[in-house]
């Protein structure tokens, strides 16, 4: 085809002036709209965010609140030593640095490295001090800086241990810590006498620390901060050495919570043990199984901050004793039986039922009127004695001798 005619026609194919003008107008409008659209989007986004921010708290406020449950911890094992360790860890966490008690072999190794003799090590370990790593390095540091001619001797270690460490045996407890503990106890009595029947609300409790020093807890929220409370306590205690620590709960509050806890636990049928621990400024409740939700809810109501009561569920514990709260019971004195001739004991005669007839088991003579047991001569134990030489021994070992008990067994009928 002839391209010229198409080129001419193409040049004439232009939209009308009105269409071009309309396009310009619409482009202008579109341009303005396009500038407005992002603003609308931003406004919508801001509105959505604001709605979310307002709606969430409103939802939390309006939604039905599920009852709050008190927390509890589960402790495996029933060994009181475990509980003791746990308490120690709890105090350490709150108190700052973690320290670990040295195992006996670690003490031996450390003392050997420090130049102690085996006799010194044995003698020191017999004392029963609970050496910790931090204390040990403190002792080593002191000895290195000591001006004494002989450092690292047993006497210095004993002196250091007496001042720094608690003792693992009750006997030594009395010997070593008796004096400061007695002073602390005296201070406590003076303080209670000062308070009278009503404890002040700023008083959080008192306890004797591991050195026997009286520690008095002051409730932070009620401490004016002008040392007036400390001065009042010091005036009451006198010259007895003591210290202060901060507490959240007053002793009165803990007493009230303790009473309410008693009311809650009473009649639940759950074996429990609880009491106020002044050194931890809280109540520790030990239970033998997890508490049901209704009890946890009730406890949460009396302890809304969840820190006045520590609930410990001791798995595997079938009974809870006061050992956890009051410390180990004293070891009972061993029952001493009267020594009997021949090394035999006297059975309870009353236990033999006279209607059974003759007792097939070997029996002993009844007690004599003068309460001295007289054994049957036939059944007295005779110490075997051989006074001949080795050559006089029989060539054949004696056969097995059936016991008298075996002979007296009833024979079965064939």
């Amino acid at each position: 085809m002839k391209n010229e005619i198409f080129a001419s026609m193409r040049e004439q194919l232009v939209p009308g002036k009105a269409a071009q003008a309309a396009l310009q107008v619409r482009l202008e409008e579109t341009s303005h709209k396009k500038k407005e659209v992002p603003m609308k989007k931003y406004l919508a986004a801001v509105a959505c965010v604001a709605l979310l921010l307002c709606a969430y708290p409103a939802y939390n406020t309006l939604k039905p609140q599920s009852p709050k449950l008190h927390s509890y911890i589960t402790v495996e094992g029933s060994d009181p030593a475990v509980m003791k360790t746990y308490r120690q860890e709890s105090v350490d966490v709150g108190g700052g640095d973690q320290d670990q008690i040295m195992a006996p072999e670690e003490v031996v190794e450390a003392m050997e490295a420090a130049g102690f003799s085996t006799e010194d090590i044995d003698q020191y370990q017999a004392l029963g001090y609970e050496m910790t790593w931090a204390k040990w390095w403190k002792f080593v540091d002191e000895q290195k800086n000591s001006e004494e001619a002989e450092s690292f001797n047993l006497a210095s270690l004993e002196e250091f241990s007496r001042q720094e460490l608690s003792v693992n045996t009750g006997v030594l407890d009395d010997l070593v810590d008796d004096l400061p503990a007695q002073l602390g106890a005296d201070g406590y009595q003076l303080l209670m006498a000062h308070f009278g029947e009503t404890l002040p609300d700023w008083y959080g409790g008192a306890y004797l620390d591991e050195h026997g020093t009286l520690m008095v807890l002051l409730v932070e929220s009620r401490d004016p901060g002008d040392k007036s409370l400390e001065l009042e306590v010091l005036d009451a205690v006198g010259n007895i050495p003591m210290g202060f620590t901060n507490a959240k709960y007053s002793r009165n509050e803990l007493d009230r919570i303790n009473d309410e806890l008693l009311h809650i636990m009473d009649g639940t049928g759950i074996f429990s043990s609880f009491g106020i621990y002044d050194d931890q400024n809280r109540i520790i409740l030990d239970v033998s199984k997890p508490l049901p939700e209704d009890i946890l809810t009730a406890i949460a109501e009396i302890d809304p901050d969840d820190d006045a009561i520590l609930i410990r569920v001791v798995e595997g514990k079938t009974a809870i004793t006061d050992e956890w709260v009051k410390g180990p019971e004293p070891i009972p004195e061993p029952v001493v039986e009267p020594a009997q001739p021949g090394g035999v004991t006297v059975p309870d005669v009353d236990a033999v039922d006279p209607e059974e007839g003759e007792d097939p088991t070997p029996h002993f003579a009844t007690e004599a009127p003068n309460d001295t047991p007289v054994p049957d001569e036939d059944l007295e134990a005779i110490e075997p004695y051989y006074d001949g030489g080795i050559s006089d021994l029989p060539a054949k070992r004696p056969g097995k001798v059936e016991s008298a008990h075996h002979d007296l067994l009833p024979q079965e009928e064939e």
């Binding site: 085809m1 005619i5 026609m9 193409r10 939209p15 009308g16 269409a19 482009l27 579109t30 341009s31």
Partner: protein
């Protein structure tokens, strides 16, 4: 594409000036109505502005405009309103856009062809596009385009009694 197209000498105005004949002509060939072609012309460049597309090559921009023109033309001709209302031009005879009678005769002959032949012929003769690009724009195979061009050219030759055709 710049977002400041409406200022004098802006890029959009240059693009409109450069491609308005192509868009309008294809719309007119597709719809057969100058009024519809005016509408399609506006809508095409509005769509171009709104899309804000960036083209690596000018050929891509041209292909996008042709493709959009065809789509919008189809939307206009297939709308419910368009199907119920007879355009004024069709009732009173189309107002021919060309100055020369022979040009109007060629245009009328082209418009009398079916759409399958009319659009390839327009793109081939008026826009001077090769068959492979026509195939892409019309979403056809190149062989189909060549076949339609051949048949459409035969029909056009018959309508125009052999005039305006270079005998090769």
């Amino acid at each position: 594409m710049e977002r400041e197209p409406l200022r004098t000498g802006g890029e959009l105005e240059e693009i409109i000036r450069r491609y308005q004949s192509m868009v309008y002509g294809l719309a007119l060939a597709r719809t057969g109505s100058p009024a519809d072609a005016d509408d399609v012309f506006q809508e095409t460049f509005l769509a171009y502005y709104r899309a804000g597309k960036v083209f690596r090559e000018e050929e891509h921009r041209k292909a996008w405009l042709l493709r959009t023109t065809l789509n919008l033309s189809r939307r206009v001709t297939q709308s419910t309103y368009r199907r119920k209302v007879v355009p004024l031009e069709e009732g009173e005879g189309v107002a021919l856009p060309f100055r020369e009678p022979e040009e109007n005769r060629v245009w009328q002959a082209l418009q009398s062809l079916g759409e399958d032949y009319r659009l390839p012929l327009y793109l081939f003769y008026f826009e001077e596009l090769p068959t492979d690009r026509i195939a892409k724009i019309l979403t056809l195979r190149p062989g189909t385009v060549r076949m339609r061009l051949s048949r459409g050219r035969d029909q056009l030759r018959e309508l125009l009694k052999g005039d305006y055709f270079d005998e090769e």
